[in-house]
Amino acid sequence: MLGLNSKDQKLFLVVIVVTLLAPFILNPFPENSELAQFNAGYPDLMQRFAIFGIFAIGFNILFGLTGYLSFGHAAFLGVGSYAGVWMLKLLSMNVVPAIIMSVIFAGLFSLLVGFVSLRRSGIYFSILTLAFAQMSFALAYSVLTPITNGETGLQLALDDPRILGVSQIDGSIPPTNFFGLEMRDGFELALGPWVFTLNFGYYLCAVFVLGAFYLSMRIFNSPFGMMLRAIKTNQTRLPYTGMNPKPYTLAAFVISGMYAGLAGGLMVAMDPLAGAERMQWTASGEVVLMTILGGAGTLLGPLLGAGVIKYFENIFSKINDTILYEWFSFMPDGLQDVFVFLIHPFIGKGWHLTLGIMFMLVVIFLPGGVVEGGQRFMRLFKRGDKGSKSSGDAARSASPAE
């Protein structure tokens, strides 16, 4: 079915179900309970899960399969965002042309950057992509201000032309929509003490993330995907098997750039503004973190990594000392203080510290990311079921026949 083997079909089915039911799954705690702060089922956060999921899935097609570590992918996301906002400004508030233009512009830009950067490999490639991204960032911040609106960021305005739409409705900027369905629309579903928000914007993102995931599964399982994995494992052999590695890596680079553009386009579809900081190299670092944390070269890894990072970013940065004191209120006063003191640096604004530590631990102890961790964990239960393959099984889910 769908051109997938049975294992991938199951995986895809699980991803579909989880994605569609996310507003429920991510809101397990009743609205008024103390644990409600751990809920993640609100539109803004779920949209970010999907958008960064797409970004990471795309990045993984390049890094996970070919092993080329790009440190400049945020530039494509940024270019996509700018293109998207311009479509919203010039054409209409319908998100479809915006998203299409985001993908096209990011694709063209990645073609240019990839064509140049891929003339080198290894660390040189990483530095070249980094240099391009930093250059784009600097330009967006300074000279290109007429296009990017510099430091302030590109926003919608009341006097935008919007040829196919209206400039303003009752003195305010019209909301983004999908053929009339507004992104911010949705409804709340109250079931007893639980409240679930079903948001149209999220479901649009969900459709895209499922499409992006499905496409990446096809690529992983295709002869093209196999060639990309061959590039990762031995560059010396390739030309002598009659293959030209350049167009393959370039294709992977552009595909992942277009994924980044799609993510950028969805970002502006949900929240119509674009800023230069989206292109900074730390933003590129973030998508690397997501992919590695989840498991580079695996199908599910990037999606998981994006989810984990965005979830913890949101939750950890919300927790403050007051909440900590509540948690540890069962302890004697002195001990309570000690615990709060110890945890304090890692929460709230200290979230990046937690992220950095988490990331180091993963690279040191679990190079295969969360997915490998899960597999090891499963293997503990399924003893005696040791396959001949030792590590990174998921990476090889593309291998024909079981």
């Binding site: 660390i123 040189y124 250059m135 330009l139 300074s142 000279v143 200290g350 510290l353 990331f359 690279v363």
Partner: protein
């Protein structure tokens, strides 16, 4: 002519910082084969050594001066740094005044300890891992280090002035026979350049004229053979890591009066320093120094009003642009050795 000299001078201090950081990066790469994305963080830690020393020296206790009153008529509270009691107000005051140069002495042992523990505690486990893994783990470490600093010192830049006696400017105009005042250059930047030159010179002399340095250079060229000679090359490489950390740290200490340190200064410099290393040629010490100064000066020229008028924004991207051009035309950089990282 005087404008050109001024731009060259302006480029030298930034170039010095690039060169010092890049030197450490390329040294670590050449000896240990590790791509260290945390090297910028070491520069930042050095700068915060200076900040810390300043805070320590200024640690005061409060007394009430019965003879004086504040404007409300209450007895005046006076803060007296502890070192005033220990060394007397004059020496103590001078110490506070000269805290940045003093911080060099303070920073050396700290940076050595940080360098050693970093190499022994983390980096050594990554010798045989792919470069991508090295980049990633040191990138993670850089985040951790800068977040720790942010936790203690906050996100805002902390002004750390140079000693008052060195704050003025030097008039090169008079010295070189131009109009007085045509080339005015802050003293501290001059000091920074001289300092960088001394450190670079000392490091090169150390590598060239000592047995230790000879072994290290031999190890950089061919690690296996040196190992076969029964020389414990790993131990020497560990020490080189500490030295590289120290160089980056000192570069940071001395940079504090030029730019008030903040927690992300390391990352900003890291990206540029990497570009410098690549331009100079991965694993080439002389290349790193040459490229550091070259790019610093180039950046300064690109910032001239006349140039920016002609090519708007060029000052922002010149370094990257040069790096891209050099990487494409001379893949090994200006002075790169053959066979380094060409896989």
């Amino acid at each position: 002519m005087d404008a050109i000299i001024l731009q060259v001078l302006n480029g030298l201090d930034k170039g010095s910082a690039y060169a010092l950081i890049a030197l450490g990066l390329t040294l670590i790469f050449g000896t240990l084969g590790v791509v260290n994305f945390a090297h910028g963080a070491l520069f930042m830690l050095g700068a915060f050594c200076a900040v810390t020393l300043n805070v320590i020296l200024n640690t005061s206790y409060e007394t009430i001066d019965p003879d004086r009153t504040d404007f409300l008529g209450n007895p005046l509270k006076v803060e007296t740094p502890y070192i005033f009691d220990w060394f007397g107000p004059e020496v103590g005051g001078a110490m506070i005044e000269w805290s940045v140069p003093l911080a060099i002495l303070f920073a050396i042992p700290i940076m050595v300890v940080i360098g050693l523990s970093m190499e022994r505690g983390l980096i050594k486990y990554f010798y045989h891992r792919p470069h991508a893994d090295q980049i990633l783990v040191t990138f993670g470490l850089a985040i951790v280090l800068q977040e720790i600093v942010k936790y203690f010192y906050g996100a805002n830049p902390i002004p750390t002035p140079a000693p008052a006696g060195l704050v003025g400017s030097f008039d090169f105009g008079v010295l070189l026979g131009f109009e007085p005042g045509s080339i005015i250059y802050p003293n501290w930047r001059l000091i920074y350049f001289v300092f960088a030159a001394v450190i670079i010179g000392a490091l090169f002399a150390f590598l060239r004229f000592t047995t230790f340095g000879m072994v290290v250079r031999a190890g950089m060229a061919d690690r296996e053979t040196v190992g076969l000679l029964g020389i414990n090359i790993d131990k020497r490489f560990t020490i080189m890591f500490a030295i590289a950390a120290c160089v980056a740290g000192l570069a940071g200490v001395m940079y504090t009066p030029i730019n008030s340190p903040n927690y992300h200064m390391g990352m900003d410099f890291l990206v540029l320093s990497f570009v410098v290393v690549v331009v100079g040629g991965m694993g080439s010490l002389a290349g790193a120094v040459a490229a550091g100064f070259l790019l610093g000066v180039l950046e300064s020229f690109a910032s001239m009003a006349q140039v920016v008028d002609l090519f708007p924004g060029i000052n922002q991207i010149i370094i990257y642009l040069v790096a891209i051009i050099i990487l494409l035309t001379r893949p090994r950089g200006l002075m790169g050795r053959k066979g380094v990282m060409e896989d």
